[in-house]
């Protein structure tokens, strides 16, 4: 605010005329730091409380050396499934068309989209990875995702462990990762990526599930849908699954 003097009665007269530079700041160093530390602690505390309230409860589906119990129920046991067949790669799969839509398809495979009630989306991709082993296919997929997902790291939480990775009823490799979708405005959501891959000796298929962290996990609808699709995969003719 200006300290410039104005003529009394002038239309531009300033209502207050408190000179600056008559004193130091109100707080001084100790009070500045004390108030800052206290307020910052409150902010962190409130943040901790909010994130704790919203945090999903997660337990390992199968504790080590313990019975797993009943498998998670499928979302809708009796529905007419839609079929996708890859003309180039030869494999086919079935999916629930009332819950999933094809978002993208090309010669390598297909990407299905699921819309969650909170406005977020999940996706599942199944594609051929010719000429490489399942573990190499997973590594290649992770390398690709590292360019688009921030802070990508392997998820070692036992609650998120993949049990019996397979594609099209063939055993294979699998891994779970966590990362974040971020932009210049901030970090928008934490995502979990589950990747499974298997081969029939001539062709390798790779299945990738990506969804917000709160919508995935062994008991989640997203994983139930993904399991249904992965189990429905039929390999190219002449190399049918065993």
């Amino acid at each position: 605010m200006s300290t410039e003097a104005a003529a009394p009665g002038s239309p531009h007269q300033h209502p207050s005329h408190h000179f600056r530079a008559g004193s130091h700041g109100r707080l001084r160093i100790r009070r500045t730091l004390a108030i800052f530390v206290l307020t910052f602690a409150v902010i962190v505390g409130v943040g901790a409380a909010l994130t704790s309230v919203q945090a999903p409860t997660r337990h390992p589906a199968c504790p080590p050396l313990q019975p797993c119990g009943v498998p998670a129920p499928t979302v809708r046991p009796l529905v007419a499934l839609s079929v996708f067949r890859s003309a180039q790669s030869g494999f086919s799969l079935e999916y629930d068309g009332s819950l999933l839509t094809i978002a993208h398809q090309d010669g390598a495979g297909v990407t299905l989209r699921v819309q969650f009630k909170d406005g977020t989306t999940g996706a599942m991709n199944v594609q051929a990875a010719p000429g490489i082993s399942p573990s190499a296919a997973i590594a290649a997929r992770v390398k690709l995702l590292q360019g688009s997902i921030s802070q990508l790291a392997r998820d070692d939480d036992p609650a998120d462990e993949l049990l019996g990775a397979e594609v099209g009823l063939r055993s294979g490799s699998g891994a779970v990762f966590r990362g974040d979708l971020a932009g210049p405005q901030g970090v928008s959501q934490s995502v979990q990526i589950a990747i499974e891959s298997a081969t029939n000796g001539r062709r390798t298929l790779l299945a990738t599930v990506l969804a917000p962290a709160q919508h995935v996990g062994p008991q989640s609808d997203m994983y139930a849908l993904a399991d249904q699709i992965i189990n429905s995969v039929r390999w190219a003719e002449g190399t049918a699954s065993s």
Binding site: M1, S2, E4, A5, H12, H14, P15, S16, H18, F19, R20, A21, G22, S23, H24, G25, R26, L27, R28, I29, T32, L33, F36, V37, T39, F40, I43, V44, G47, T51, H104, T111, R113, T121, A123, N125, L144, G147, S148, I149, S150, Q151, A153, R154, D156, D157, R178, A182, G183, P184, Q185, G186, V187, S188, Q189, S190, L210, P212, A213, Q214
Partner: protein, 380 residues
């Protein structure tokens, strides 16, 4: 003696108390060409010092407190990230600079004696705009399908260019609405409004954009080091660019439309709104778009370069603004300069350290003493 720059009478000293020009024998030219930063005369005008630029009213002794607070806050953010408490670290990073701005406004008592509605208005405006642009960013952000099908999590045009550009212009509306008020006619008023609005904008936008993230648990999995780089970018690097650009744009607007007619061209072409506003927006866009193609550590370095540019640009605007705003008032009684502690006649600049007295906290008048008397507190 007579000042060689303004040719007015000034007491003996190192600086003219009217125009701030050095009184050394070999000094020539206008006072604004001096190298001592008008708001922190112990620093060079081109020295990219963060605290003395974003918080220009702070006396030298108070700057260390804010430096310590900023360092402590950054250490807490990094510590929370190291413990994988990412959501808490994100909240702390988003609110670090807004909290410092509020503390600064309380400390220097900028608008003591008058209703705080002006500062409250620009902070609220910035926060509301930040929430709005956070929601917009969520809406245009790439989905899981984009990531998995196209290997792309970035919306370069919308998130990297359009939203930062539009965000800066919208957040500037709040300060600009205060431009017609004659009581806010210093360049530092514009800088204060721009800084406060931008800090609130950045914090609110980051919190809103992360609303889905906060549901992912207290300690979600993730790589720690990239998280630390990202938090430093979101909590310090990007807000500094936004605050500096907004404040520099406001300084140019204030100098052009609120300063006396002789001073409105002081910043040259860069002070014209047609240049100043797009330049500020371009700096914010340039800083933001780096996120779309750089790794987290690379974006932090990228932002650091933009921070230096923006800080120097803002310092120049503050410097020129303060040195142009010589008061047309009689020389007052001796006071102890809160910046250097030396006795100086009250006018526009300290005759000893050369700081602009307008860039210092106000006098809080006491019932028992007149306003213009020296403060009773001893200098630090």
């Amino acid at each position: 003696m007579t000042c060689p720059s303004c040719e007015q009478t000034t007491p003996e000293g190192r600086f003219c108390i009217r125009c701030g020009a050095p009184l050394a024998d070999d000094w020539e030219g206008k006072s604004r060409t001096r190298s001592h930063f008008a708001a922190a005369s112990h620093q060079h005008v081109a020295h990219p010092a963060l605290i003395s630029t974003l918080f220009p009213h702070l006396p030298r002794a108070s700057q260390s407190g804010f430096r310590l607070a900023l360092a402590f806050g950054l250490a807490v953010v990094a510590g929370l990230a190291a413990l994988r408490l990412f959501p808490m670290a994100l909240i702390a990073a988003a609110l670090l600079l807004p909290l410092l701005v509020v503390l600064y406004l309380i400390d220097v008592d900028v608008y003591e004696g008058e209703p705080p509605w002006a500062v409250a208005f620009v902070i609220l405006w910035g926060a509301v705009a930040g929430v709005g642009f956070g929601l917009l960013a969520i809406d245009v952000a790439p989905s899981a399908v984009d990531v998995i099908a196209h290997g792309d999590s970035q919306n370069v045009v919308q998130q990297g260019l359009l939203l930062p550009f539009a965000g800066l212009l919208v957040l500037l509306i709040g300060p600009v609405l205060l431009l017609p008020y004659h009581r806010f006619n210093d360049v530092l008023d514009g800088v204060t409004f721009g800084t406060a609005a931008a800090a609130a904008f950045g914090g609110a936008q980051a919190i809103t954009y992360g609303v889905h993230y906060f549901g992912s648990g207290v300690r979600p999995a993730g790589a720690i080091a990239p998280w630390i780089w990202r938090l430093l970018s979101l909590g310090l690097g990007m807000p500094i660019v936004t605050m500096g650009a907004a404040a520099a744009a406001c300084a140019a607007l204030w100098l052009r439309y609120r300063a006396p007619a002789r001073d409105c061209e002081a910043l040259g072409p860069a002070g014209h709104p047609v240049v100043a506003l797009p330049l500020a927006a371009a700096l914010v866009m340039g800083a933001a778009v780096g996120e779309t193609f750089l790794p987290p550590w690379g974006w932090l370095l990228w932002l650091a370069a933009f921070d230096v540019v923006v800080i120097i640009m803002l310092r120049r605007a503050i410097h020129v603004g303060l040195l142009e705003e010589a008061l047309e008032i009689p020389i007052g009684p001796e006071i102890a300069c809160p910046n250097c502690g030396a006795q100086t006649a009250r006018h526009t600049f300290c005759g000893n350290c050369g700081i602009s007295l307008q860039a210092l906290p106000k006098t809080r008048p006491r019932r028992s003493e007149p306003v213009a008397m020296p403060a009773s507190e001893p200098p630090a």
